[in-house]
């Protein structure tokens, strides 16, 4: 399965997460920094807004796209994709066609030969790997459940219908918590990896089965993944919010961290002054790695003054 391939690619950690599906041609820079879809490392702190920069790069791309159109016969939608900012105008003449066999999450390389991003070499990886802290998944047990019976006969269950309309069940290994609803749907939280989440969900289903219900294991799906890491240098959040206004929200009166909503991949990052970063909102592990590789040069750019 595609999913398994991309997961195995990270165990070696030698290659940045941009290189995953074998169907993509390798004549492009591995990290699509120049695509205009990912936030760029800021070269100068002089108020050139991100939108202007990306539109400028878009125009560059368009020119280069026309030149290299012949080379891209295999990938019609590869270059000149509309940047996925919520307030940008669609660029005439370029379409985002879905690439066959590719998930829409990973952008195809923009131009084959000339990289657009001026400074940062695309192959430089941060060397830091975000650790997964929490996985939330759902599964359908496929039958109606009597929560009172479950609460009565299971040791590890709590049920307080006045407070919440589900049974809260916990198991020791993998250490997780499940919310089991009377419709037969179940939410499993607290696992540290996708496989652990799946194993835990199966154990809960087994407990429900043993209690006498005809439980099945249908539509297991990972809904959210949370990762965290430490860049080990302090970050000027006030500066970051000034230069990346469209993506950041920093209100020290409300919350000490900066909330960075990355567009591609669609991940929310909580960035703290201590250098610790929390990434959440991912459906697959690769999104977390990609988001971190995207934010790391931006944070590094904030550490040194030019």
């Amino acid at each position: 399965m595609d999913q398994n391939n991309s997961i195995q690619a990270f165990q070696g950690l030698a290659s940045p997460p941009g290189v995953m599906t074998p169907t993509m041609p390798v004549f492009s820079p591995m990290m699509p920094y120049g695509s205009g879809l990912t936030p760029q490392p800021v070269q100068n702190t002089n108020s050139l807004s991100i939108l202007e920069e990306q539109q400028r790069q878009q125009q560059q791309q368009q020119q280069q796209q026309q030149q290299t159109q012949q080379l891209n016969t295999g990938l019609p939608g590869a270059s000149g994709q509309t940047p996925q900012l919520f307030h940008s105008q669609p660029v005439p003449g370029s379409t985002t066609t879905a690439l066959p066999g590719n998930t829409p999450l990973y952008s195809a390389p923009v131009t084959p030969m000339t990289p657009i991003a001026p400074a940062t070499p695309a192959s430089e990886s941060s060397g830091i790997v975000p650790q997964l802290q929490n996985i939330v998944s759902t599964v359908n047990l496929g039958c109606k459940l009597d929560l009172k019976t479950i609460a009565l006969r299971a040791r590890n269950a709590e049920y307080n219908p006045k407070r919440f309309a589900a049974v809260i069940m916990r198991i020791r290994e993998p250490r997780t918590t499940a919310l089991i609803f009377s419709s037969g749907k179940m939410v499993c939280t607290g696992a540290k990896s996708e496989e652990q989440s799946r194993l835990a969900a199966r154990k809960y289903a087994r407990v429900v089965q043993k209690l006498g219900f005809p439980a099945k294991f249908l539509d297991f799906k990972i809904q959210n993944m949370v990762g965290s890491c430490d860049v080990k240098f302090p970050i000027r959040l006030e500066g970051l919010v000034l230069t990346h206004q469209q993506f950041s929200s920093y209100e020290p009166e409300l919350f000490p961290g900066l909330i960075y909503r990355m567009i591609k991949p669609r991940i929310v990052l909580l960035i703290f002054v201590s250098g610790k970063v929390v990434l959440t909102g991912a459906k697959v592990r690769a999104e977390i790695y990609e988001a971190f590789e995207n934010i790391y040069p931006i944070l590094k750019g904030f550490r040194k003054t030019t």
Partner: protein, 295 residues
């Protein structure tokens, strides 16, 4: 929501709000005896300078602005006329005097600011007595006036003290230091009273100085184990890094495939025996009836 309303939230800076905040403090001549009175303009100027210094040393980022402003005003008020009466007055009494409500964390901010001022005040060559974070308030005027050169000196002496501890691998930092000192010396001629533009430049120079510590640390292979708490080896670091709480014991990572066999005995351990279930049901009933009686 910002999208819907098509507006842009203005970015907030503590220095903008400082002036309005300072005017809340009723310590001008009309309200308090002359010994304790302070002109609002002078107080604001000094408090703003203190906040800028605090921002450089990572005291401001990520924190609620009100306690910082309160701490800055308090220290500014104390330092503008550092006589025994003012120095002895605690924050609580000061807030009562000025008719403002004291904030609890302002005390912590005061300690942090005093620590930062102490680090700078140590570098003053003409102060001959023993300096502690407590008696640094009397020197605040001098510190603010010469803050750029004091900062440079503090960084240099910090680097020297680190060199004594681990002599290898510091070649990077010395060359980097000279480039940063040239940046800082551009500002050396300016007087402390600042517009926000200059404050930004100073902040950036400050970032360059202080953060240059960390790359030089990390390049040294010896200190790789010590990068656990890099905050302790830098002159100025965010307080949450310096006072890092102990991490809770991490469980060893579980390597599973997700499709393993689940043993029956493990699942049985999660299910009550029939006797247990009966006992539990009885207990629930008793609790329920006793609740009904009592309510």
């Amino acid at each position: 929501m910002i999208k819907v309303l098509n507006i842009q939230a203005p970015t907030f800076s503590v220095t903008d709000v400082m002036e309005a905040h300072c005017q809340e403090y009723k310590v001008s001549l009309g309200h308090v005896p002359e010994e304790l009175a302070e002109d609002s303009k002078g107080l604001t100027k000094r408090a703003i300078a203190l906040v800028e210094l605090a921002a450089d040393s990572w005291i401001v980022t990520g924190r609620q602005p009100l306690p910082i402003m309160m701490a800055a005003v308090y220290l500014a008020w104390q330092s503008l006329k550092p006589n025994a009466q003012r120095l002895k007055m605690s924050l609580e009494k000061f807030c009562k005097l000025a008719k403002v409500q004291k904030s609890k964390t302002a005390g912590t901010r005061i300690t942090e600011m005093k620590g930062m001022l102490y680090k700078l005040g140590k570098e003053i060559p003409w102060y001959k007595e023993v300096l502690t974070p407590d008696n640094v308030v009397s020197l605040v005027g001098d510190i603010l006036q010469h803050r750029f050169s004091l900062l440079r000196r503090a960084l240099k002496s910090h680097e020297l003290s680190l060199l004594e501890k681990c002599p290898a691998g510091q070649v990077n930092s010395s060359s980097a230091e000279t480039s940063s000192s040239s940046e800082v010396s551009e500002h050396a001629g300016q007087t402390p009273a600042k517009s926000s533009v200059n404050a930004e430049k100073q902040k950036q120079a400050g970032v360059g100085d202080e953060s240059l510590k960390s790359p030089s640390e990390e390049s040294n292979p010896q200190t790789q184990e010590l990068t656990q708490n890099w905050g302790k080896r830098v002159l100025f670091a965010p307080p949450c890094v310096v006072n890092a709480k102990r991490k809770r014991a991490e469980r060893p990572p579980l390597h599973v495939t997700g499709d393993e066999e689940i043993s029956d005995s493990e699942i049985e351990s999660y299910i009550r025996t029939p006797q247990e279930a009966r006992d539990f049901a009885m207990m629930q009933e008793k609790l329920f009836t006793s609740n009904n009686e009592s309510s």
